[in-house]
């Protein structure tokens, strides 16, 4: 593990690739309405990008980018966003998750399209936060030796 983490080639390539992985995951989430994609897949890609960062740069460094608190807020916020969209439909006199009744856009189909995107974002938030949180929880705590390796390479 530490050999891989010390390699300057891997550290540089990972640093270059991660923005593109995260951007692609956002594309996959937002593309769910018009092609292959969706919240589950995009969330997993986002989580994989952060996990790649954590594997090379260390868990503690990754936690500075996305903290445990942010994970908790994202995981529950995504579910609230989804359920809230459903409850909003009840407030406007429809059934649970009946997107068409919400007077957001001129046609019901267009409103449904926008709200399906909102729902996909909610799914993506929950999935990515749970992925990252699972990895942080299962991985062993970093020893002082590990921290020393990261300082040495920097």
């Amino acid at each position: 593990m530490s050999d891989i983490q010390q390699s300057i080639i891997i550290r540089t390539i990972v640093r270059i690739m991660i923005p593109f992985i995260l951007l692609f995951s956002l594309y996959v989430i937002m593309h769910g309405a018009s092609g292959p994609g969706g919240g589950f897949q995009g969330g997993v890609i986002f989580g994989a990008g952060i996990i790649l960062y954590a594997m090379i740069y260390g868990i503690e460094e990754a936690k500075k980018k996305i903290s445990d608190k942010a994970n908790r807020i994202l995981a529950s916020g995504g579910l609230v966003l989804y359920a809230g969209t459903g409850l909003l439909a009840i407030l406007f006199g429809g059934m649970f998750l009946e997107y068409g009744v919400i007077p957001l856009m001129p046609t019901t189909a267009y409103t449904a399209k926008i709200l399906i995107d909102v729902v996909e974002i909610g799914i993506g938030m929950t999935v990515l936060a749970v992925m990252i949180s699972l990895f942080f929880d299962i991985s062993p705590p970093e020893t002082e030796e590990d921290m020393h390796i990261h300082e040495e390479v920097e």
Partner: protein, 91 residues
């Protein structure tokens, strides 16, 4: 014990292969799944009712939206369970 496990695995595999012979061919337009009237309904109405061109997403987030909400809740619950059971440090 290992032989018994191997026997069960081979038996299950043989049963699955035998049952697999009756599955419709891949992409067969005459198969029951394509001939069902709900399939025809979704193909004809998914875009005009949901506004999305991807029928899979229309089914997932609109027709079966309640089911997908449950799936998201399952993932959330799994994450929170691991957080509570395995977290080694203070919150």
């Amino acid at each position: 014990m290992k032989l018994a496990a191997l026997f069960v695995v081979i038996l299950t595999g043989a049963m699955l292969i035998y049952a697999g012979q009756d599955l419709p061919a891949f992409g067969d337009s005459e198969s029951p799944a394509y001939q069902h009237r709900m399939t025809q309904y979704f193909i004809e109405n998914a875009e005009s009712e949901s506004g999305v061109t991807n029928i899979v997403t229309a089914l997932l987030a609109n027709y079966r939206g309640y089911d997908t909400l449950g799936e998201t809740a399952v993932i959330f619950t799994a994450g929170m369970s691991v957080l509570m059971l395995l977290r080694r440090r203070e919150l």
